[in-house]
Symmetry: C2
Subunit: 190 residues, 2 copies
DNA sequence: TTTTCGTTCCTAGCGCTGCTAGATCTCGGA
DNA sequence: TCCGAGATCTAGCAGCGCTAGGAACGAAAA
C-alpha cells in the first residue's frame, strides 16, 4: 500500500512538474516555443513520458489553462471586493482583467483564445472557469436591471476580450486603450 | 516589350491564382489544412514557386486577408446604406459583420485573429482594412456624441469581435447570441 | 538469494510542416 | 543554330506532434 501510494504521489508530482514547466516556458517564450521536445528536456524525461500523463500537447495546454484561470479568478475577486461601490467594482474588475491579459499574454491566450480541448459554457466547465465568470457576473449584476444576468455578463466579457485581443494582435493602437475602456464602461453602465 | 508584359501578366495571373487557391482551401478546410505543399499541388506548380511570389505562408495569408477585407467592407457598406435610419444602420452593420464571420470563419480569422504580417492601426494599413473600419465608423457616428469617433468605433468593433470569437471558440453558447448582440447594441446606442 | 514478471521508460522513427540550395530545363535573342 | 539568362523543379534541412518496440528496473515468488 505504501509503495503504491508513493508511486502515485511521485507521478502526481511529475504531472505538476510538467504543467509548471509548460506554463513557465509559455510565459517566457510563447506557446509556439512550447514543443514536446523542449518540454521533455526541461522536466528531464523523454518525450513519451509526457504522453503517459496527457493525451497530447493540447491536454497539457488545457491543464495550464485551468490552473491559470484559477489565478485570474482570484485576481478578479480581489479587485471586486476591494472596491467601495458598484461603479468602482466593475471598473476595477475590468482593469484587473485587462492587466492579467497584459502581464500574462500566454496564459490569457490559452484560456481564452487558443483552441484547447476544454468544455466551456456548459455545467462540465472546470470550476476555475466558472469562478472567473462568476466574478464578472457579480461586478455586472448591479447594472443588469431587467436583463438576463448571464447573457449580459457574457456580453461584458466579450467586449473586454475583444479590446484585449485586438490590441494584443496589433489591430488597435495601445495609446487609446484606457480611453476605449472608459468609453465602453460609460456606455455599459449607462 | 510585348514579351516582357506578357510574362508580367502571366505572373500576376498566377499570383492571383495562388491567392484564390489559398482562400478556397482555407474556406473549405480551415487554415491548418492550407500547407505550402497542398497549395502548390492545387495551382499545379512546385512549392518553391510560391516563394517567388510571396515571402512565405504568412504573406499569402496576408494577401487573402486584404482581399477578404474588401469583401467585408462591401457587405458592411451595403448593410449600412440600405438602412432607413441610424438605429437600423448600426444594427444592420452589426448583423452583417457577424454574418460575415459566420459564413466565412477562415476569412474572418485571417483578417482579425491570426498572426499575419500586416500593418494595422497605422496610415500604412491596406485601404481595404481602412474601408471596413470606415463603414463601422459611419454607423457609429450618430451615437458618438462628444466622444472621439475613432476610439468609440474601435470599442464598438472590439465588442463585436469579442462576441464573434468567443462564440466561435465555443466559449459562449450560440443560442444566446442574438440576445447578447441586442443587449450590447441597446447599451451602446444608449 | 535468485528468478520471474510487470511496469516504466527510452531510443528510434513515421509522416508531416515551412522553407531553400542547387541542378535542370525552357526559351528569347544573337 | 547556338548561347545565356531566367524560370522551375528535385531533393533536402531542421523541426513538429506523436508512437511502436525493446531495454532496464524493481517488486513479488521460488
Amino acid at each position: 500500500m505504501s509503495i503504491q501510494s508513493r508511486k502515485e504521489r511521485e507521478r502526481a508530482e511529475r504531472e505538476k512538474l510538467i504543467i509548471t514547466a509548460a506554463r513557465e516556458l509559455a510565459e517566457a517564450e510563447g506557446w509556439e516555443a512550447v514543443t514536446t521536445r523542449r518540454l521533455a528536456e526541461r522536466v528531464e524525461y523523454s518525450q513519451p513520458v509526457l504522453y503517459s500523463h496527457f493525451k497530447g500537447k493540447g491536454a497539457i495546454m488545457a491543464a495550464v489553462a485551468v490552473e491559470s484561470c484559477a489565478d485570474l479568478a482570484v485576481e478578479l475577486r480581489a479587485a471586486r471586493t476591494a472596491a467601495p461601490d458598484a461603479r468602482h467594482a466593475i471598473a476595477g474588475v475590468s482593469a484587473a482583467y485587462v492587466a492579467f491579459a497584459d502581464r500574462h499574454p500566454a496564459l490569457y491566450d490559452v484560456i481564452f483564445s487558443l483552441d484547447v480541448p476544454l468544455p466551456f459554457a456548459t455545467p462540465e466547465a472546470p470550476p476555475a472557469l466558472q469562478a472567473a465568470f462568476g466574478e464578472l457576473a457579480e461586478a455586472v449584476r448591479p447594472y443588469s436591471g431587467d436583463d438576463d444576468l448571464g447573457a449580459l455578463t457574457e456580453t461584458f466579457w466579450a467586449a473586454l476580450h475583444g479590446l484585449v485581443t485586438l490590441m494584443r494582435g496589433g489591430r488597435l493602437p495601445r495609446e487609446l486603450h484606457d480611453l476605449r475602456l472608459s468609453l465602453f464602461l460609460a456606455r455599459f453602465t449607462g
